[in-house]
Symmetry: D2
Subunit: 224 residues, 4 copies
């Protein structure tokens, strides 16, 4: 059985920037040892080096541009995040949407550096399109539910099951992650039952009064 993938996007939250980002990463590392999951942290680009030097769990970038070496001032290249210790990247997050050709170029750049890839999408149609580009994962997140606290697995379960189906038809090797509004154990459980192989988390954990407790409560859903 494939291990469940739990991806925590730090966004640009104060509670997950600089030293706070390192502390949160350590909480995730501990949780990973307690629960039988693949735990991934996704800090801001400037925090990748500090975190990957200090924790053993995989660190992903929040964004990678589809450009290589050269005159691309301000871009985030696959080579630079790899050098800083990243092992993968989110691509096309709803807060950092990319052009279709850029998604493809970013995927190629990540593959060339041996980085894992998660392409974020907003509905069933774009999930199918993203799957055709053969990332390792697609993470479907209806934008209106992001940061809402309303789990997609409850508000719109068809978008998950429909995405799983679309991916199966177009590129069955691609795993489907489920995002948007996931914060409790039961949400995670429901997401897995709908056919996803993991979840993409953010505010539900990061903005929690007690991040550690919130993460453990969520992960306990796996055993439920």
């Amino acid at each position: 059985m494939m291990m469940i993938k739990v991806v925590l996007n730090f966004k640009t939250y104060a509670e997950a920037t600089g030293k706070a980002a390192l502390e949160l990463s350590r909480i995730c590392e501990e949780a990973k040892d307690q629960y039988d999951v693949e735990m991934v942290v996704v800090p801001q680009t400037a925090d990748i080096h500090l975190i990957s030097e200090n924790v053993s769990i995989p660190v992903y970038a929040q964004h990678v541009d589809g450009v290589g070496f050269g005159g691309y001032t301000g871009s985030i290249t696959a080579a630079s995040i790899k050098a800083a210790g990243a092992r993968g990247a989110l691509i096309n997050h709803s807060e950092r949407r990319l052009k279709l050709a850029e998604i493809e170029a970013s995927l190629s750049a990540c593959r060339a550096e041996g980085l894992s890839t998660i392409v974020c999408t907003n509905n069933i149609a774009t999930t199918g399109a993203a799957a055709a580009l053969k990332p390792d994962y697609v993470a479907v997140e209806p934008p209106e539910l992001i940061g809402s606290g309303i789990p997609v697995s409850k508000a719109d379960p068809e978008v998950i099951s429909g995405s799983v189906e679309a991916v199966k038809k177009i590129e069955p090797e691609v795993g489907v992650l489920c995002g948007a509004g996931i914060s409790r154990g039961e949400d995670l459980k429901a997401a897995l039952e709908l056919g996803s192989v993991g979840v993409l988390l953010a505010s539900g954990i990061i903005k929690a009064e007690d991040q550690k407790k919130a993460l453990e409560e969520l992960l306990s859903g796996i055993r439920g």
Copy 2:
């Protein structure tokens, strides 16, 4: 007398990524001790932490988004680069142009974090507009000369003197840097004579067969 500012933009060149970026920063640090200049290195975002931990000269980011803490996945925030050790940033480089409102928001974000700011512009008119936003510096670079090896101080000296004049009229506290095609000591000297207070360098040094030698040859122009 104000110290001459020499800013080296690493772009995403292979010769200035990861470990190579650190080595190049050390070369800059040594050069700074030899010549009476303010030397600034501008690596990729993922390299800021490694470099600022290991060299004493100022490290700037290549780009800062005009957003703060929150749901801004993939953005490069002023707080994150500050936490990683940066002391300033380029904004609106010709390879990473921003909307007018974004430039203003990015400047505000940098000021709130105590970061120095250099807004890049492409001609006299945009230099005047940028100066009105009160960055610490504007760096004027005619895009067609970037990476050309043809120094702007020779190809289009009026763009520098005209920029100096426009800034003097609108916001005289702002310093003018001169970019595009600068690689030799005589280019630097000419740029200073036209009224700029420093230079923005890139490929002329980074792609040089011997980076150290190229930088020293350039800096020797100050004494000329």
Copy 3:
């Protein structure tokens, strides 16, 4: 005395698209004859030709790209809107923000075709920057008030008076228009008293139950 400029942005409202756009333009034409104002209509690009063929008041485009003749598929060029009958354009509206260099290029393209220009801005700082580029007008609109029904002249009068002052300092030939939330005669009157030379309107008129009545009520404020 300069004539007061009243600019009605049709946005992409159903009530101002296609035939409805033509009808609304005719209402504006009639209102112009009744009140001593310069009345401008700003329909969608595809509606410019139909409207300019049928009304005598100036028709402006909502956006112009800073490109000329050539390989720029999908761009809106100054030459094309001129050929369709437009006499001016909004540039950098808050719903269609442009990069600084693009604003400058768009202004140049409009000037070359003899088109009037209104650059939209979001605060005092960007108003000053836009004025430095020498458009015919800047229209300052705090984004949070657009479509709110809360007139900027009441919610944030300092942004208008401060913009008027900034423009006077940097480029006094540029006229300041006042936008965001303007819908009644008293709002218009207040805007003029704060130093603006006209207003940029939209939803307050277009979404009104009776567009003609709403426009007349607003214009009656001039005589107040």
Copy 4:
């Protein structure tokens, strides 16, 4: 047998703007009567109304934004181009690339207005992704060949046959058009033999000394 689709993109060429756009459309209309093809003209948005009032062949827009009625100043909506007489649209042309979610939204908007859709792509991978979104057509154009005069059917035939294959696997109802560098009858013939159902043309015809002759020479390839 399906009729061959010949689509002429006017871009923003001077030779295809305003009155010249109407003349060129009339040339296309005549050619259509002579040859057994479906001939489509794709003028700038501001020229759609003039042309669709005066010719009977289908007029497409060069770009449609994925937004509807509302506060979207400067956008090109499906409803507005429909009202102006358009019957379809290019989406995601290499000179006007869109984000993945925007392509999907633009397709939905066009479908809701009964407009035909051609999504442009740059390689086999993005062609597959675009096909998953179910446009009427995809037009594959390697960017480096656009405007080059070197026909894709000769320089890179695998990109066409590979695209045809990818589409067949993912969404066989979608037709594949072939673009980039097509200007002669033999190029068109080769494109059809590789499995495409038509071509997307531009500079090869528009910049020709004699547009009419160039178009006829090209269309004669069908009978070859």
